[in-house]
Symmetry: C2
Subunit: 126 residues, 2 copies
DNA sequence: TAACTGTATTAATAATAATAGTACACTTAG
DNA sequence: CTAAGTGTACTATTATTATTAATACAGTTA
């Protein structure tokens, strides 16, 4: 389910966070679906449970998952209009990247087309 | 010219890279304009010259600046159609962020509007 | 020549990432 | 209730990376 690059300069727990976010955003992991447990995933990836926990803690902070003692960790269903801070943050990052793309010569038309495609395939599996 | 957060978890040299890219992309720093020297900027920010050098080296690798022994470091004018790898990389990051925005409920229309604004103000100062 | 530039190297320290081991509280199936 | 699973917390240790420090060298320019 996960592929890690142990020799990357990017910390393992950050790679985990990115992969998880990707799976959640692409709805491979559905709302309220249970994630692999800290120990189970650690064994599967042959890394330390503490590293998994660090990733899960961060994902919970960012609002992507929720955890319950004794039960497990689950995908957090988005509550519209609730994550205003997060949305603003993402918009800011987007603005920076969009400016960079335009600076590099990417045409606005191409960006519009990209959005259109992504929006169309939203929720539609892949 | 630069504001650093020394107690941030983000390394100083990465903060420097981000600030520089921002200034270059927003054309506050013009093509072929000379950047502050390694030692000068280090003294101004009261950090080590090696840290500045590390940032400059990375910026050069990423194609944003070029450096010449004995002369200085300068903003690299973009050469259209040359930075294909970089463009692809930025597009990939963009796709991830756009998906996240859509997942959080941001409307496609809003994204289109954002691009339109950014594209319109391109090169027009701020 | 003198005073700038970038660049390279080595060493030491500070900060962070990752592992290891243990413990506790909670949930659930038996 | 018990056993085995869950998340969570904590301390300690090691490995990796970031940062500083001090030089040194090569090129440029007034």
């Amino acid at each position: 389910m996960f592929e890690l690059d142990l020799r990357s300069r990017k910390p393992i727990y950050e790679q985990l966070i990115d992969k998880m976010k990707e799976l959640i955003i692409n709805e491979v992991l559905k709302p309220d679906e249970q994630l692999p447990s800290v120990r189970q995933l650690a064994q599967q990836l042959t890394i330390n449970p503490n590293t998994i926990q660090k990733a899960y803690r961060e994902l919970e902070l960012q609002g992507f998952i929720y955890s319950q003692k004794g039960k497990g960790s689950f995908v957090n269903p988005i509550s519209p209009g609730k994550d205003n801070e997060k949305i603003e943050q993402v918009k800011q990052e987007l603005e920076k990247l969009l400016l960079e793309a335009l600076y590099l010569g990417v045409q606005a038309d191409e960006l519009h087309a990209l959005i259109k495609d992504l929006d169309a395939s939203k929720g539609g599996g892949k």
